[in-house]
C-alpha cells in the first residue's frame, strides 16, 4: 500500500467576486479512510466538493489525486481518475429508467463495458446494493425523496470509484432510512473505497467518520476525531453562536 494520499489539497481556494467561498484549504485523505466534513450553511462545503471534482475551477491552490496534480482538470477527467460524487441538489437523468441511469455510469467508467446490454445487467447489482432492487424499470420522477437520494448514490457507485464524495445524501431522510446508508458506507470502506461524507446529520457523521474536518466561512476551522471535534468550543460557536458556547463552558 502506498503512502501517497488518495486526495490532497494544498491551499485550495475559490473566490467569487469579493467573496472567498473557500480559501486556503489544505488537507489529505488516505486510502480507505472515511472523512466527515461538517460546517454551518454557507461554510463552503459544496464549493469545496465542486473544486475537487472539477465542476468549479479553483482560483488558488492545488488538487492532487494519487499524488498527481489534477488542478483545474475537467470533471470527466477527475471522474475517470476514480473520483465519484453525488450532488446536494439531486441530478437524476430524468428521461431514462432507474436502471438506465446506472448503466450510463457503468459504460463511461474507464474500465467499464462498452455494451449497453451488459451494463444494464450489471446495474442490477448496484441497485440491489443501495436498496433500489426492483425499481429498475421505474422513472426517476416516480421515486420518493429517499429513493431519489439512493439513486444519486447508485449513480456515483456505477463508476466504481476509489474515492467517493457524498454531498448530503442523507438530507431529508428519516432516521430509519439513514441506517442502511451508513451500512453501505461501512461496506464501501471494507472494500477499500475512500469516502468523504458531507452531512448535516451529525449522528451519521459520528457513526462512520474516522476523522472530521470542520469548515467555517470557507476555511478549515479544525480537524480531528468526531467526538473531539463536536465537543470543541470553537465548533459549537460556529454552529450555535458564541453566547451558547460560553454558557456550555460555564456549565462544564
Amino acid at each position: 500500500m502506498s503512502t501517497v494520499p488518495i486526495l490532497e489539497t494544498r491551499g485550495l481556494g475559490r473566490r467569487f467576486g469579493a467573496l472567498d467561498a473557500v480559501s486556503d484549504v489544505s488537507f489529505s485523505v488516505n486510502q480507505g479512510e472515511i472523512l466527515g466534513v461538517i460546517g454551518p450553511n454557507g461554510a463552503g462545503k459544496s464549493t469545496f466538493i465542486n473544486l475537487v471534482t472539477g465542476h468549479i475551477k479553483p482560483t488558488s491552490g492545488q488538487v492532487l489525486i494519487d499524488g498527481k496534480d489534477m488542478t483545474g482538470q475537467a470533471p470527466w477527467d477527475i471522474a475517470r481518475a476514480g473520483v465519484a460524487r453525488t450532488f446536494q441538489i439531486v441530478k437524476p437523468f430524468n428521461g431514462m429508467t432507474v436502471r438506465q441511469n446506472i448503466a450510463v455510469g457503468i459504460m463511461y467508467e474507464s474500465h467499464g463495458t462498452n455494451r449497453l446490454s451488459v451494463a444494464l445487467e450489471q446495474a442490477e447489482a448496484i441497485l440491489e446494493e443501495v436498496g433500489l432492487g426492483g425499481s429498475g424499470d421505474r422513472m426517476p420522477g416516480e421515486l420518493s425523496t429517499a429513493d431519489i437520494r439512493r439513486l444519486e448514490f447508485a449513480k456515483a457507485l456505477a463508476t466504481k470509484p476509489r474515492l467517493l464524495l457524498l454531498d448530503e445524501v442523507m438530507a431529508g431522510l428519516r432516521p430509519t432510512e439513514i441506517e442502511p446508508s451508513l451500512e453501505l458506507i461501512r461496506t464501501l470502506k471494507a472494500r477499500g473505497t475512500t469516502v468523504i461524507v458531507v452531512e448535516h446529520v451529525m449522528k451519521a457523521i459520528v457513526a462512520v467518520s474516522d476523522r472530521v474536518l470542520v469548515l467555517a466561512q470557507g476555511k478549515v476551522l479544525m480537524q480531528g476525531g468526531a467526538h473531539e471535534v463536536l465537543a470543541d468550543p470553537r465548533v459549537i460557536e460556529v454552529y450555535l453562536g458564541h453566547r451558547y458556547a460560553k454558557r456550555q463552558k460555564g456549565n462544564a
Binding site: 471534482t53 472539477g54 465542476h55 475537467a74 470533471p75 470527466w76 471522474a79 475517470r80 465519484a84 460524487r85 450532488f87 441530478k91 437524476p92 437523468f93 430524468n94 428521461g95 431514462m96 438506465q100 448503466a103 450510463v104 455510469g105 459504460m107 463511461y108 467508467e109 474507464s110 462498452n114 455494451r115 449497453l116 446490454s117 451494463a119 444494464l120 445487467e121 442490477e124 449513480k155 456515483a156 456505477a158 463508476t159
Partner: protein, 341 residues
C-alpha cells in the same frame, strides 16, 4: 437470485426477438419501397423521394436536437453547405457525384465541429439563435462569392454530355438514392439510441453536470453529435442539389427546411427513432394531400393541424403512446395538464 437471473434472461430473449422482428420489418419496408418504385408515375416517385429526404433530415436533427437536447435552428446550414460543396466540385473540379457525396458530408461535419466548439457552450435559446445566425450568415456569404458559387444567380450541376462525370439519375434513380439515405439515417439513429455514445448524449440532455460527473466528456460528445448530424444533413443536401440541377442560395439555406425538420421530430417524438420517422412521413403526406385537395388553403389547414398536435401532445406522438402504455392513461386532457406550456 434465481428470479433475477430469469428476469435477465427474459430481458435478453426479448431483446434478440425484438431485433429479429425489427430486421424483418426493415426488409419488408425495403421490398415494399422497391415494388412501389416500379408502379408509381414520375411525379409521385418524386413526392415519395421527398418523404425519404425528410426522413433522413429529421433523423439527423434528432441526433443533436432530440437526443442531445440542443435545438439547432440553423441546421439548414449543413444542407446548404453540403449542397454547394457538391455543386462547386462537380462543376469546377469535375468530380463525380459519387465522390462528391461523401465529401460533402465530411465538409459539413468538419464545419460543424469548428462552429460547434464555441456554439455548443451556449444553452437553450442562445444556442438556437446562434445557429440560426450562422445559417443566415452563410447564405449571405454564398451570395457574395459569385465567382465560386454563382452568387444570387444560382449555379448548375453538369448532368449530361461529356462534361458530366455522373449522368443524371432520373426519378427512379433519385428514388433509390433518397431511400438509401433514409435507411442510412434511420440506421444511425437506431445505433445511437442503443449504444454508449447515445446514452451519453441522453445524459447530457438531462443534466450536463451529472453527465460530466460520471465520466462523460460533454464537450467532445456534443461536438461529435453535432458533426454526425451535420454529416447526414450534408449528404442529403448534396443529393438534393444533384436532383434539382440548378440551385439558389435562398432555397438551399431556406429556414423553412429547418422548421420542417424540427416539426417532424417534435410532433413525432423527439429523442426516439420511430418518432421522427413517423413525423416525417405523416407531415409530408398530410402536406401533399392538402396541397392536392385544398390547394388554396392547404398551408392554413396544415398550420392548424400542427398547432393542435403541439397543444394536445407536446411531447410527441411516440412519447405520448409510450407514457400512455406505462400509466394506462391515454387521456389527452391529463396529458395537456402534465405538459402545459
Amino acid at each position: 437470485m434465481t428470479t433475477m437471473n430469469k428476469g435477465i434472461q427474459g430481458l435478453k430473449g426479448k431483446g434478440s426477438q425484438r431485433t429479429m422482428l425489427e430486421g424483418a420489418l426493415v426488409l419488408i419496408v425495403i421490398a415494399l419501397a422497391l415494388v412501389i418504385r416500379t408502379k408509381l408515375p414520375g411525379g409521385e416517385l418524386r413526392a415519395v423521394s421527398t418523404i425519404f429526404m425528410f426522413i433522413a433530415l429529421s433523423q439527423a436533427w434528432n441526433i443533436i436536437g432530440g437526443f442531445t437536447g440542443y435545438a439547432s435552428f440553423g441546421q439548414v446550414v449543413f444542407f446548404g453547405m453540403g449542397g454547394y460543396f457538391t455543386a462547386v466540385v462537380m462543376l469546377k473540379f469535375h468530380f463525380s457525384f459519387w465522390l462528391a457525396l461523401p465529401l460533402a458530408g465530411v465538409f459539413a461535419a468538419v464545419f460543424a465541429a469548428l462552429i460547434g466548439q464555441p456554439l455548443l457552450k451556449l444553452k437553450g435559446h442562445y444556442f438556437a439563435i446562434a445557429t440560426l445566425g450562422v445559417a443566415e450568415g452563410m447564405r449571405e456569404v454564398v451570395i457574395n462569392l459569385p465567382d465560386l458559387t454563382g452568387g444570387g444567380a444560382g449555379i448548375s450541376v453538369p448532368i449530361a454530355g461529356t462534361f458530366a462525370k455522373t449522368q443524371y439519375l432520373g426519378d427512379a434513380g433519385f428514388y433509390l438514392l433518397f431511400l438509401g439515405l433514409a435507411l442510412f439515417a434511420v440506421g444511425i439513429g437506431t445505433l445511437v439510441s442503443r449504444n454508449k455514445f447515445g446514452y451519453g448524449l441522453r445524459a447530457i440532455h438531462q443534466n450536463e453536470d451529472a453527465a460530466a460527473a460520471v465520466g462523460i466528456n460533454t464537450v467532445r460528445s456534443k461536438v461529435m453529435a453535432y458533426s454526425l448530424s451535420a454529416f447526414i444533413t450534408g449528404v442529403v443536401g448534396a443529393s438534393y442539389v444533384f436532383q434539382q440541377v440548378t440551385i439558389f442560395p435562398e432555397r438551399l439555406f431556406d429556414v423553412e427546411i429547418t422548421v420542417l425538420m424540427i416539426m417532424m421530430v417534435v410532433i413525432g417524438g423527439s429523442g426516439t427513432v420511430v418518432g421522427p420517422l413517423l413525423g416525417a412521413i405523416g407531415l409530408q403526406f398530410i402536406s401533399e394531400y392538402l396541397r392536392e385537395h385544398f390547394t388554396n388553403v392547404h398551408t392554413f389547414i396544415l398550420a392548424a393541424i400542427i398547432i393542435l398536435a403541439v397543444i394536445l401532445i407536446p411531447q410527441g406522438a411516440v412519447n405520448y403512446f409510450r407514457e400512455g402504455r406505462r400509466t394506462k392513461d391515454y387521456s389527452l386532457l391529463a396529458n395537456i395538464r402534465r405538459y402545459r406550456l
